[in-house]
Amino acid sequence: MGLTLERPARAPGPTLPRPSSGSGRGSRARWVWGWAYSGILSVLLTLAVLLGYLVTGTASGSVDWAALFTSSTWNPGALAFGGLAMIYGSAAVCVLALVLAVPIGWAAAVALSEYLPPRLAKPLRLSIELLAAVPSIVYGLIGIMVIRPFVADLGDVPGGDSLLAAGIVLAVMIMPTIVAVSVDALSAVPGRYREAAYSLGLTRREVVRSAVLPQARSGMRAGVLLGLARALGEAIAVFMVIGRADGRLPESPGDVFSSLVRPGQTLTTKLAGPEPMLAGTSGPYFAALCALGVILLALVAVATVWGTRGSTGRAARAPRARRSSAWLRTPKDRVTTVVRLGALLLPGALLVGMLGILLARGGAALNPVFWFSPSEGAAGGGIRDQILGTLLLLATTALIALPLGYGAGIVIGTRASAKTARVLETLTVAIGGTPTILLGLAGYVLLCTTMGWGRSWLAGAVVLVPVVVPVVALTTAGRIRSMPAEITEAAFALGLTGSQYVRSVVIPYTWPATLTGLLLGLARAAGETAPLIFTATVFFGAPALPTGVVNAPVQALPTHIFTLSQDSGAPEAIAQAWGSALVLVLITAGLLSLAVLLRNRFEGARRWTM
């Protein structure tokens, strides 16, 4: 014990001489809290900006709230602003999407994590995460090609534009998110739970149900919340298949089902459509649109609160003795195995189909020249500048959003009481569910106009940050909640301060989940068009890389695809749009694989146990 280390302030054994002042801790890591709280602050700030924008707009003209909630007639020409049909549309589409995506997504996640050997599961998991990276616009185009005809055959809908089609497209979009986040939560369940359950003679189905799922629940729920947020906030893909017909409501309860196979409108598609541009910046029309935005935010909040009711605070669940379920065990186990593995077929088929379509249509992307040469005019040449611009936007967004989202997740997971955590979580989901067009408009007013940045790549990145932050925050918080209490105790018992605990225990423990969140968030951001068009990108003529911040636009892949796929008459424009889509998917895939390699290192050798 003769070792004399410089360890002044601590009170070690009596044999160590030590000065009586100074702070000698290896590192107090106090910055942790500053960082974590600035994450939460960013969430609140975003919300404040959004609400500020919306409420100011609402105040700029009188809003007939009663009509907004009760009337289904929307006719700006006659100053009739009824939002009921859109509220109905939003609700119907989201319920449909969740009803379709959650069971399949969860089953697929269980299959991946509990049934398949790691050798098979790892690449499959990566591929499913890749699906989450496909830009919305591609989902929309594929919706037109595949899902509309399918619905048209199903109901007697000519064309197939309908709430149902929108629900299916959304289900397809959010399923990868649900699978990815759920697999993550499942793989965090310590092996000893499985071992203990298996050794009692349980079948795999019983082990999953009784020992694994209860542990993974909070994380899997986070996946659904994220899916819900994306479903509520998604515009472009819904846009293309919902028909956007105003004022359609079921006339009787019996009409509800048939209303699903008819065109409709959601709050998001209304807001992301051209009307905010036509409404000017004040007056009753603009006020009514802003009021719709407020309703949408409120809806997201209500859905979150409802979706998470009774699940925070473990003690809240009434302890109930379970009954015997020993009946047809083996058949039940077999059927479940088949169902769960079968659930994997759907995302699998999706992946293959999606890649097939992208390869068939966007084969140009396989030529390296296309990647490395600048574009010429509207649709000639390659897309070098668009690729560079997208990478710049994504990198900047990741740099800003990762610390903020991580911080917010840590505060939600460790610091807040159950009640506060729930409020914060709800606010976070609300931001995740905000249609990005609103973010774009708010950013346009605040950054581009008020602060005078003009079109600026940085403004674009800042506007994308709120897309990524909630995903990172929610996945992180979900993982923290599933952390065994013994780990926390062991760390504190070694004299760690709160911030050291966060740095050395919470962060390494949640890192894989956070990474998944970042990937999913960035993937979504990579496909965002609307906010970028307003704040950061031009279609043509920007330099490859900007030299400053003010008046420094870039070109980006998603907006390129969007513009080309809208109104270009030239056939080569369509080819280039699909080629760009494939490039975007490949780039995201590349980033994804890189990050997944990292994550595997953390999850494999560095697993945590007790």
Binding site: P274, I533, F540
Partner: protein
């Protein structure tokens, strides 16, 4: 990069504007083209002085001028686009060889629900209307209602809204009995779609150029005051013989074709 010429607005005009800007790049001209907010967005940005050129696929309205009294809007027509009422070949072959203004109004207001009411096959009508603010839709409204305010869209189950021209074409092709307003340039090479004659006038080049076909829309570049300097160089290029070649490439009509 504040010395760059900034053009922004209609997605219809943007491809032409980009190709022209590309051609001028070699001459050292720096031009950016964006599509924020479509035609209406371009006009409002020009009004607030954020850009140099607004791209528009619809004529300026009095409202625009009123909204920005300090701006001296100067329009330069660079070409034109003929909007057709597009139906499917099945319906055309079934006997719909032309539509009157009243019949078009009946279709888009949801009063005519079966093609046999206008001499076609016994087939349900499915209407795709363009979203509000689209130049295409304004041209159709103008044809049907003149200067009157159009009524609210029908609540019929066979009515849906579409956005871009490609989306419109895709949906027309995949929906039996559908009808939609769409640039005629977009149905070239798509034998399943037919631009139906209106009031007995087919959207042929001659009819469009002579103005007898009722639904044409001009494509504009709008500036604040007369174009000067690089802006003028840019617009002049598009008006030149070389620049005009870009219009048919993207499915539009040249000034020459329009008799300008």
């Amino acid at each position: 990069d504040s010395d760059a010429v900034q053009a922004s607005g209609s997605t219809t005009v943007a491809p032409v504007a980009s190709d022209a800007a590309e051609a001028l790049k070699t001459k050292g001209l720096n031009i950016t083209v964006a599509t924020q907010g479509g035609s209406a967005g371009g006009i409002s940005q020009l009004g607030t002085g954020q850009i140099n050129i607004a791209l528009s696929s619809k004529p300026l309205s009095e409202k625009d001028q009123k909204a920005y009294p300090d701006t001296e809007f100067v329009t330069t027509q660079i070409g034109a686009d003929a909007v057709g009422v597009i139906i499917t070949k099945e319906v055309a072959d079934g006997g719909v060889k032309g539509l009157s203004k009243a019949q078009v109004a009946g279709l888009f207001e949801g009063r005519i629900t079966n093609w046999k009411e206008v001499g076609g096959p016994d087939l349900q009508v499915f209407v795709y209307d363009k979203e509000p603010g689209r130049g295409t839709r304004e041209v159709l409204d103008k044809f049907i209602y003149g200067n009157d305010e159009p009524p609210a869209p029908p609540k019929s189950a066979s009515y849906a809204i579409v956005g871009g021209n490609l989306e419109t074409r895709n949906k027309l092709k995949s929906t039996r009995g559908s009808v939609a307003p769409l640039s005629t340039g977009f149905i070239d090479g798509h034998p399943g779609l037919v631009a139906v004659p209106l009031e007995g006038v087919a959207p042929t080049l001659d009819n469009v150029a002579s103005g007898t076909y009722p639904m044409t829309r001009p494509l504009y570049m709008i500036t604040n005051g007369r174009p000067k300097g690089t802006v003028k160089q840019y617009i002049d290029y598009i008006l030149s013989a070389e620049g005009q070649k870009l219009l048919p490439k993207h499915g539009y009509l040249t000034r020459e074709q329009m008799g300008l």
